[in-house]
């Protein structure tokens, strides 16, 4: 599993509340990614990171922010959760540095009521 953990695994929250999801890796890989998975849309990239404090936007970044203050942790924050952000969120890392070879975490199922 490439040493990736995500927390929490499940969360139910209310509209307007802030939410932070954590991705933790144990092997100091440089590249980390956050995706959301929704029926009919596949996996869509939210944000990614190519090193400590180096992050960039993906295709669905609106309403999300990220931070990476340590190599091993990549945090995804929903500043004010909306029902449209109900989804399954996956963190991924690139072990080899090759973008097409990504290892995914177990996912976080987020429900915004």
């Amino acid at each position: 599993d490439a040493g990736i953990t995500q927390s929490p695994r499940h969360k139910v929250t209310e509209t307007g509340t802030p939410v932070t999801l954590r991705c933790h890796q144990t092997e100091n890989h440089r590249y980390m990614y956050w995706y959301r998975q929704d029926p009919g849309h596949g996996l869509r990239l939210i944000h990614y990171s190519y090193g400590v404090k180096d992050t960039d936007k993906g295709e669905v970044s609106d309403g999300y922010s990220v931070s990476r203050s340590k190599t091993e942790d990549f945090l995804l924050t929903l500043e004010s959760a909306t029902s449209s952000q109900t989804s399954v969120y996956f963190c991924a890392i690139s072990v080899t540095g090759e973008v097409h070879e990504q290892f995914f975490g177990p996912g976080t199922r987020l429900t915004v009521l």
Binding site: Y48, G58, V99, H100, F104, G105
Partner: protein, 114 residues
């Protein structure tokens, strides 16, 4: 330009049959095409990948066929087994492009019936 279109959305195959999932793309700058497999409740896992200078790549019962002129690629699962029941995603990446990110298809839910 950045889309990868995947079909069918779902597929039912009998045990021992051949499962075929197709993907098409527009961006000719894509230069790597992986397939990911996802079991329920798990994250996707890399299954097999191909470069566009190769027409076919085989790993066990899984084969990618690539047609560069048609801008299409497909996954074939030979002798399909119930354990292959999962969601399959095709993807593409342009390493030389500004994005340098994986673009995923919408997924195919495969059910292999015993």
């Amino acid at each position: 330009q950045q889309q990868v279109k995947q079909s069918p959305q779902s597929l039912i195959v009998q045990k021992g049959g051949i499962s075929i999932i197709n993907c098409a793309y527009e961006n000719t700058a894509f230069d790597y095409f992986p397939w990911y497999q996802q079991f329920p409740g798990k994250g996707p896992a890399l299954l097999i990948a191909i470069r566009p200078d190769v027409s076919e790549k085989k790993e066990g019962r899984f084969t990618i066929s690539f047609n560069k002129s048609a801008k299409q690629f497909s996954l074939h699962i030979m002798d399909s087994q119930p354990g292959d029941s999962a969601t399959y995603f095709c993807a593409a990446v342009n390493y030389g492009g500004a994005t340098n990110k994986l673009i995923f298809g919408t997924g195919t839910l495969l059910a292999v019936q015993p």
